[in-house]
Amino acid sequence: MVLDEKDNRSPWEKIGDYFSANSVWMKWYCTGCGAIEMPPTMTSRFDMERLGMGPMATPRQADVLLITGYLSTKTLRRVIYSYEQMNSPRYVVGFGSCTVNGGIYYDSYATINRLDMYLPVDLYIAGCMPRPEAIMNGFAKLIDMIKKGEARGWRHYQENYEWYKKNQLDSLGEVIIKDEFHE
């Protein structure tokens, strides 16, 4: 995506983006340790619902996928599967340094190093792990981006699907595990 792309949304899209921005539902998926700061963010002290955000049970219902920290390959497969089940427009927020460059797990055999090779990340929230304040701030930023039509990762994913798929397969071998009785 080009940085200085002009705002060529139609008025309808702008209205739609306004609604999308003010009602962002996150998917209930604790992918990593950053998820421990989600309960405080959701509950009485920081009260995420003020921003119109709330947890949703399934990917179909949700708008934003929070990658709360490192991703092991096993989780990444599920995350990709579950991201593809989400309905557009959908957003991805990466939490903490682990999603940026692997963080302290840079040399781990089980975790990936950079998330944006596999999924289009709209926003990173820095920290290890990000504090609730940082998360709230990040969400406010995300809302702002959606309102301005800048959170277009999902479109980028559609347009560069081959590239993402290739990266996914390179790192994971197979995304959809064929062996379903591996328990």
Partner: protein
């Protein structure tokens, strides 16, 4: 509560360990021969060491040996025991202890997955547990280099600009 000294002498008498020591407060370490592990575990379980805290393995690559470690705990005495035995690294076969400690089942699967030690008699041993589609030598062996594996599989970020140009997430004005 039995005292530490009497416990150590009991163990010496009953298990004839190759070596005993007292590495920490209320903790006994005993090295036995591999074929003595079962007898020792059964004996200790009778002595009140009812809990298997952990079953793990150490890769002594220089000696070409795996050292299996069974740590037991007695709630009545408050004593931890490390029971250790070395097996050949090239032929890592051992027998399961699930008949004495049923809880060992998943520890054995884990050790198999991470070190490649095979425990005969543990039926689920070959199912993957923590890893999925693992395609290299067992990762906790000393000759496995995670950095190299990670580099070959998971690309690193090279510089910041690339991220900015790719996803457009960096314009922060």
């Amino acid at each position: 509560m039995n005292s530490m000294n009497s416990m150590i002498s009991d163990i010496k008498a009953a298990l004839s360990p190759l070596e005993t020591s007292e590495p920490a407060f209320r903790q006994i370490a005993a090295v036995v021969k591999p074929d003595g592990i079962h007898g020792a575990l059964a004996y200790l379980k009778n002595k009140g060491f009812t809990q298997l805290c952990i079953l793990t393995c150490i890769d002594w690559i220089e000696d070409s040996q795996f050292e299996l470690v069974y740590i037991l705990f007695s709630w009545t005495d408050g004593i931890h025991i490390q029971l250790r035995a070395r097996i050949d690294r090239e032929k890592p076969f051992f027998t399961t202890v699930t008949d004495i400690f049923p809880g060992a089942r998943y520890y054995e699967r884990e050790v198999h997955e991470f070190f490649g030690v095979e425990f005969c008699g543990n039926e689920d041993l070959y199912k993957p547990l923590f890893l999925e589609l693992w395609d290299d030598i067992p990762p906790l062996r000393k000759d496995f280099d995670p950095q190299a594996y990670s580099d070959s599989k998971f690309p690193m970020r090279e510089n910041a600009n690339e991220f900015l140009s790719m996803t457009g997430g960096g314009d922060d004005e």
